[in-house]
């Protein structure tokens, strides 16, 4: 039961002309080998930025100001460019919402995939090409030999995402971070991709962080769930505990607003108001303006507590 990725006290801030934006504010979690972690939140919650921070993809005016990220024991926040080059695409890989963020539209598929292999492994070009062909077959693409010679624009959205997944898994990374890869895809294609990801992670032993706003996807896929709001993890724990017995009012509110959880035709349970602008976050719990259980004490930022084994919670007035 080894932890392949440990994140502790991660803070990523953006220093803009308008002020400091605390996109990620004290985020910590542990990812076990072969497990799936669902990182759930709405826009502005910092979930994508957490993924980028782990991959070292945060550009000016943002940077990681504090915290530690340990991948298989190696500390990522202290890596230099060469260190990153060795790790990215090799031990840790990312899949983006738009597959065209991974694929170069003017290069053939085989060129791009072989590049990814040859950058990290000393094998012959023929051997690399074989690996690529097998990878395409592995993600369920028919006639892989022909498809290798094609260009990205000749594929549909779902196929492109599969190729992006194949590229991510080429070098058998220990950790894969998937940032909303199925949000832009149709339901039936999403079902296919989810099935592939399940199978692939099981077969390769990779640990998966699945970033999404859709709790239902996480329900089917994840072992553990972290719920994020305004840059912080407000609640985390095993998927069944979080979805059946949430402790944080925001998690409860999110679950209650899902149409499937409401009587058809009647108004949905809704969380009033909007998420605060990330630049306007002050002291105290960021959710208190929208929380029906908020009290005076909530003007102080709640510390992380552990209400049960393997659960964390950031709330002074939880539901139970």
């Amino acid at each position: 039961m080894s932890a392949v990725l440990e994140v502790d006290g991660l803070r990523t801030h953006f220093f803009t002309r308008a002020g400091v934006v605390k996109a990620v504010d004290d985020v910590g979690f542990t990812l076990e080998r072969g497990k799936v972690l669902g990182l759930v939140g709405e826009s502005g919650s910092g979930k994508s930025m957490t993924g980028y921070s782990i991959m070292g993809l945060v550009d000016e005016p943002g940077r990681i100001v504090s915290g530690s990220i340990r991948l298989e024991g190696a500390e990522l926040t202290r890596l230099d460019a060469e260190g990153w080059r060795r790790l990215r695409g090799n031990r840790i890989a990312m899949i983006f919402q738009d597959p065209m963020m991974t694929l170069n539209p003017v290069l053939r598929i085989d060129t791009q995939m072989m590049e990814a292999v040859l950058a990290h492994q000393a094998v012959s070009r023929a051997a690399a090409r074989n690996r690529c062909r097998e990878a395409l077959a592995w993600v369920g693409i028919a006639s892989p030999e022909e498809r290798l010679r094609a260009y990205p624009h000749q594929f549909s959205g779902g196929m492109r995402q599969r190729i992006a997944i194949a590229i991510a898994l080429l070098n058998r990374p220990a950790v894969v971070i998937a940032d909303e890869p199925t949000t832009a895809l149709d339901v039936t294609i999403q079902g296919q991709i989810l099935a592939e990801m399940q199978r692939l992670c099981r077969e390769s032993g990779a640990a998966l962080i699945w970033i999404t706003h859709d709790l239902s996807v996480v329900a089917g896929l994840a072992d553990r769930v972290c719920v994020m709001y305004a840059g912080r993890i407000v609640e985390s724990g095993p998927v069944d505990d979080i979805l059946d017995a949430p402790l944080h009012p925001y998690t409860r509110g999110l679950l209650d607003s899902i149409p499937a959880r409401n009587v058809p035709g009647r108004p949905l349970a809704q969380i009033p108001g909007m998420a605060p602008a990330p630049i306007a976050l002050g002291e105290g719990c960021a959710f208190r303006d929208r929380c029906s259980r908020a009290a005076e004490a909530c003007a102080v930022s709640p510390p992380v507590s552990s209400p049960a084994a393997s659960r964390t919670l950031r709330c002074l007035r939880p539901l139970a």
Binding site: E42, S43, S156, G157, G158, M159, D186, V187, T188, I189, Q190, G191, Q192, L194, A195, Q198, H213, D214, L215, S216, V217, A219, G220, L221, A222, D223, V239, D240, L243, G253, L254, L255, S257, I258, P259, A260, R261, N262, P264, G265, R266, P267, L268, A269, Q270, I271, M274, A275
Partner: protein
């Protein structure tokens, strides 16, 4: 002649829409013989995936596109009869709510003009009463009227959706085509906007054609649901009936595939194959290459919508006795 109350609000018969096809390029069959109707105060949900033609259908209903074939009726009268100034109120009665809250508002116009321009231009409201009219509309959709001098970029996605709804309401519509109106919104904001739709329907007696790819949302707001695949309606049923007793294999697959909050660590058994391109649709039943129950007749002959239960129509050869 049946009483006026039985006349559907909107009716479409045999609608076909082809794009391209000039100068020896192959035409895209976006819609292939679509017929349905919407009654007063009814919410009809239209669900389908990319390439099914639901957006095209929405635009044909709201007159933004002309069909290649077929007839459209508003309150029993053909759309062609609704030309000219005298019929303008009837034409304005169908309005559209768009998907992208960012692209659907003119970024260089203030909200008061976005919402208030059309009613003033059409004489529904005097120019000097415009601000008050806009304020009433903004309050109705849950926005603070003091913000009406702001520009769209100063609002969040959910607020922009509301502005778009206010703009449509400003011309007194009877029927709203909501084209993926909540797709771009976060779950908690989506709930707020869906509640707004439900409330407006009760307060103003509106009917909706609610287009979405999200089965959960459709289930929640619709009285009746139409399922589309590659330009055709494959199933039509009351909402509860569709979800509890889906008939068409595609509907079954859709409902099965949707991730559900109570299905934990499920093993996804996806439907195989890609959605075919509208440029080269499969012969016979469009769905047969991916259908686990397809047989010979499915490849050869297009199935027609037949009633399989009261009010429940499905286009599948499996429904017919062999």
């Amino acid at each position: 002649m049946s009483a006026a109350v039985d006349t559907p609000l909107v009716e479409l018969r045999g609608i076909c829409k082809r794009f391209g096809g000039r100068r020896s390029t192959r035409p895209v069959h976006a819609l292939d013989g679509v017929s349905f109707l919407v009654r007063e105060r009814e919410v009809v949900g239209l669900v389908g995936e990319s390439g099914c033609g639901k957006s095209t259908l929405g635009r044909i209903v709201s007159r933004l596109l002309e069909p290649s074939e077929g007839e459209r009726y508003w309150r029993g009268r053909p759309y062609a009869q609704l030309e000219g100034r005298s019929q303008r109120a009837e034409r304005l009665a169908v309005q559209m709510i768009f998907q992208d809250p960012y692209a659907s508002l003119n970024p260089r116009m203030r909200v008061d003009r976005i919402v208030g321009e059309a009613p003033v231009v059409h004489g529904l409201v005097a120019a000097r009463e415009r601000d008050e009219y806009v304020a009433r509309l903004l309050r109705r959709v849950g926005l603070d009227p003091s913000l009406m001098r702001r520009f769209p970029h100063q609002f969040s996605g959910g607020q922009r959706s509301r502005i778009g709804i206010a703009r449509a309401l400003a011309v007194n519509p009877r029927f709203l085509v909501c084209d993926e109106a909540v797709a771009a919104l976060d779950v908690s904001i989506q709930a707020q906007v869906l509640n707004l739709f439900i409330r407006l329907r009760e307060e103003l007696g509106l009917a909706y054609l609610f287009i979405s790819h999200d089965l959960g949302v459709i289930r929640h707001v619709s009285d009746r649901v139409l399922v589309m695949y590659l330009g055709r309606i494959v199933e039509s049923a009351p909402a509860a009936e569709l979800y509890s007793h889906p008939n068409h294999p595609y509907t079954e697959a859709l409902i099965l595939e949707v991730p559900r909050i109570d299905a934990r660590r499920r093993r996804y058994v996806p439907i195989r194959g890609e959605i075919p391109s509208p440029l080269a649709p499969p012969s016979g039943c469009h769905f047969h290459p991916r259908c686990p129950k397809a047989f010979g007749r499915c490849r050869a002959e297009r199935p027609l919508l037949r009633e399989v239960a009261p009010g429940h129509l499905s286009a599948c050869h499996l429904n017919e006795a062999p």
